[in-house]
Symmetry: C2
Subunit: 607 residues, 2 copies
């Protein structure tokens, strides 16, 4: 007899009972929190609870008689294993003949039926798309009820951790100054109110931080802004005495996180309302829409003004970031030394190496948390885009090939992100060729000059050219913005080359920081990525206009064991030597161990 | 007493009389023909007739009591001089406080009044914009009458020159094959009819040519296409017996050019209608719109399918183009030799030098016409964007500095475009620095490899990088497409770097040809531009994807007298030497004069 997963089946039965009670015919559970954060807390793992599959991407749809789970190619095998005996069908996204979720719903749902989902965990674009496609069929929506609430009895708590206040000195700009800038933008857009749903924007604006999302120092929150009011919605339990005092002092009105919907239902808008559709969940959007119609005002969809303000770092932030990056660089350099000294001598796996590095970072003064889970990938594993070593499933690192380590942390004074691919033994000539081209690309972009007005699409090719010249490419962007004591990925700028019709592009501006991370990935063989973070700086102003460039923030040696000069042009050799000279100058004062220092000297030698 | 231009005043009085007769309160005259061609024939110079100003950009608006003429900064002085004593006010476009035409009309026109213009010389976007802005004010439009028709008694004829047929062998693809491709696209867009207004597209599609627009081998025409009909509207007088036979043979139904409007009024659309708003004039658009509404069908606005088909040259076209470019290159090389030999010895002006070159080109077998009026600009004149030397107004070319020559022709087998900046005497070290960087940029772009999907915005910076690195830029695009025995400027691809929100971008595809023309312009001192035409070619296909690159089509020496190796990196030196080696190999067989050949050997020497 086939294996039956009675636990999952029981949970689904309870869910279906609830659905019947509420007359919900189809219930959809995606993977998100209320703010589309990069990492969702356990509280939000509803899909996992009801089907057993715990990959990072999946949407479960349940009806009276059927259940289906959609995920992408990374997870087909894992999902099949984890959903065995649950009677949940696996829908392999992007595979030929496999319907999308909306196609499936359009095909199966009947007039008069109801589609349910928690409107807080669905993006507005997905919600609107479903509405558009299903409204013709006479399907109703129930989006104001999270059915798991009553069914999932041992559900983890909603994350709720103490918030804290950053000093104006540390932030370089007070909340009041920032708020005044936001209000100017609101005026410019002809709006009188602004609902802000994006967690890192709210943190940046208020100079507050929290700890409700893994690796992101943010509190679950919303902010409602008018010309004379600033309301911050956070869980009351997170508000420490310090935070309360600060809010009182600077004029932040505190309300509980769960009051948002009722607050919006009660409010009267005095003018048009600014919001950012990309970051507003469907329930909030619908609530806003209804209220705006009631008040006879319009919703104005624009990027949150805070997004660009936050991306262009102020002088204080830059000063602190530069210092933090040097400290972080020195620590990573010590780690590289440790790997090279110990590989083949002590037991080492991808996982234990990552643990070692995380521990070293945690010792640094001002350490808050990792900025993302450290990626540690050995040889062929490094060629897999989303490879994640775990304690139970990690390759042994032997004295051959390379170990790719992509890591970073948030400290008081900045958030870091850096990748080095460390040679731990013999490597082939082909790998050296790939490695050298990757390094040339990273340095070539960092050394480029470009005119005011250039976006990431104009400069991305500087990083790719040395790879494209030998028929190689990497299937990811070259760069992303990084927060200040905030999320490791932030917009609005990035460095990518592909044309997307109608997509907006943000010009690079002095004060922005951005990653520069080309790579080479050869399936089954090796993966190389070299990532520095660079700062956009003024280069010169001439009669032709303003020219910008980059300065490195990251100062970690690039492994010369994988560099072969025959694959490099003279300019790249010069750039590498100049970079290594700077690395030694910047980080050697922070390295106390004589042996490491001697090694560093050698590792940054001129070639 | 102030000077009075009684001739212009008399013409304006006649126009106003006509306006009164037809109850037109404001009459607008822009600068265009019916197809928004790059060059307008004398027949279309209505604005010049009524105000005296003959610059290349200007719009005249006349009301009962006032007349105003809008032009841009290039022409303020000329317009003031030419309009003296006419009582026509000059509106300096883009100057602070100066209203745009639509702002002026919105301010001055009153409810119940009528704005008139010839709807065939106004683009749809401008027409729609005026409609939108003036409709609220209760303004009516009269767009079906060219008032100059009755007033301008000695008006030149509408250009009307014999058309001719190109053989299928010369075109590489027959009309029928091309038409079948167009119909496939029409189907793909869900349309049953297609109105084509773009002259070079019509010529390309029919394998016909004409001579109604200066420098463009095109006939004034429209084409109406359904799944079983192809109607070509051209002036009956242009249709030679050959053309008539050909059309009969391939199934082209001929109608007179002037029948289009009545044809559209009588027709019945059987399905949605494909058109390209960018290239359809306002009267035609309104006629289509009304008829579509009457027939209950939709207008579908897409780029003409012919535009991309025409841009990707077929193998026959490419073979012929390559040959033609070598011949044209050899001729230009002989001209450069002539300039260098004769400067300072014989009388030479910018104008006579251009005449000399034009004459040399005209001697080449298969020469049809210049592809644009030759630009010949000496020293500081070369720094002016729209400088045009005329017989009466041309600088003397002396044995010092440089002469910039931008020129080209259409031959049986291709249309050329090439710029060289020729050293004719002493030049400064600064000029050498600028010249060397310009050449490095041109060669750097031409040598680049790039991935399938790249548009001009991705690769433009390859040409600019050497200039940007020294704080220089040029205020024009790097490249434009070029027709096959057609217009010297064609889309849909180009090479430009600036971001324009929502603007479409065409990926570069093998078979496209495009110019590569960086430059440096220093006001009052010098202008440098080096322009090669390059062909997009396949480079390689790897696991990362497809890579494309460029091959030169132009083979003309680059003036080594202006190159200083100290301003060049090793890679650029290599590229220049390789290019010069190819130049000698390609064109030396065509050069018969021993002296020129000896000079060429020296001019293409390795550095």
């Amino acid at each position: 007899m086939a294996y039956e997963n009675t636990e999952i089946k029981g949970r689904l039965a309870n869910l279906r009972k609830k659905m019947a009670e509420l007359s919900v015919d189809y219930y959809m559970m995606p993977t998100s929190d209320f703010h589309n954060s990069e990492y969702s807390a356990d509280y939000f793992k509803v899909r996992e609870y009801f089907c057993g599959f715990d990959g990072s991407n999946g949407t479960l749809v349940v009806s009276k008689d059927e259940a289906g789970m959609w995920t992408d190619g990374r997870y087909f095998i894992q999902a099949e294993n984890q959903m065995k005996g649950t009677d949940v069908a696996l829908f392999k996204m992007m595979n030929p003949g496999v319907p999308t979720i909306s196609e499936y719903l359009v095909k199966n749902m009947k007039s008069g039926q109801t589609l349910g989902f928690d409107g807080r965990v669905i993006s507005t674009s997905i919600g609107e798309d479903l509405e558009k496609k299903l409204s013709d069929k006479g399907v109703s929506f129930k989006i104001d009820k999270d059915l798991a609430e009553d069914v999932w009895t041992d559900r983890p708590e909603l994350p709720c951790h103490d918030m804290y206040v950053l000093s104006d000195e540390l932030c370089g700009k007070s909340f009041k100054e920032k708020l005044s800038d936001v209000r100017k933008k609101m005026e410019e857009y002809g709006t009188k109110a602004h609902l802000l749903s994006k967690l890192d924007d709210i943190m940046w604006l208020t100079n507050l931080r929290g700890n409700d999302v893994e690796c992101n120092p943010v509190a679950l929150s919303y902010a409602y802004i008018t010309m004379n009011q600033f309301v911050l919605f956070v869980q009351s339990k997170e508000v420490t005495a310090d935070v309360k005092d600060y809010c009182h002092k600077v004029g932040i009105e505190l309300k509980d996180y769960h009051e948002l919907t009722s607050f919006l239902e009660d409010i009267k808008f005095e003018g048009d309302v600014l919001y950012d559709k990309r970051n507003t969940n469907f329930l909030t959007y619908k609530t806003l829409l209804k209220k705006a119609a009631d008040c006879g005002v319009k919703l104005v969809d624009k990027y949150n003004p805070t997004e660009l303000m936050k991306a262009v770092k102020n002088e204080t932030e830059l000063k602190n970031i530069r210092e933090v990056y040097v400290k972080d660089s020195a620590k990573l350099t010590e780690f590289i030394y440790w790997v090279k000294q110990n590989v083949g001598k002590v037991p080492m796996t991808e996982y234990t190496a990552a643990m070692k590095l995380d521990g070293m970072r945690a010792e640094l003064p001002g350490f808050i948390e990792l900025s993302f889970p450290t990626i540690s990938a050995y040889n062929a594993n490094a060629a897999m885009a989303h490879y994640e070593a775990t304690e139970d499933n990690a390759a042994e690192v032997k004295a051959e090939g390379m170990l790719l380590v992509d890591s970073g942390a948030t400290y008081m004074g900045g958030t870091t992100d850096v990748t080095r691919t460390i040679v731990v033994g013999e490597i082939s000539d082909e790998i050296k060729k790939h490695y050298t081209a990757t390094v040339s690309g990273m340095l070539n972009l960092a050394a480029s000059s470009f005119m005011e007005g250039c976006t990431g699409r104009n400069v991305d090719t500087f990083a790719r050219a040395p790879l494209w010249n030998i028929g190689l490419d990497y299937n990811h962007g070259t760069g992303h913005g990084i927060g200040y004591m905030l999320n490791v990925h932030e917009g609005p700028h990035n460095i990518r080359w592909r044309f997307a019709k109608g997509a907006d592009e943000q010009a690079l501006l002095p004060g922005m920081i951005v990653s520069d991370e080309p790579g080479v990935y050869v399936e089954g063989s090796h993966g190389i990525r070299i990532e520095n973070i660079v700062e956009v700086v003024d280069r010169c102003k001439t009669e032709s206009g303003k020219f910008f460039g980059f300065e490195h923030l990251t100062y970690v040696p690039i492994d010369l064991e994988a560099i072969d000069k025959k694959y490099m042009d003279a300019k790249s050799v010069e750039q590498l030597n100049a970079y290594h000279k700077a690395v030694y100058k910047k980080i050697s004062p922070l390295i106390k161990d004589e042996a490491v220092l001697n090694w560093l000297k050698e590792a940054t030698r001129e070639i």
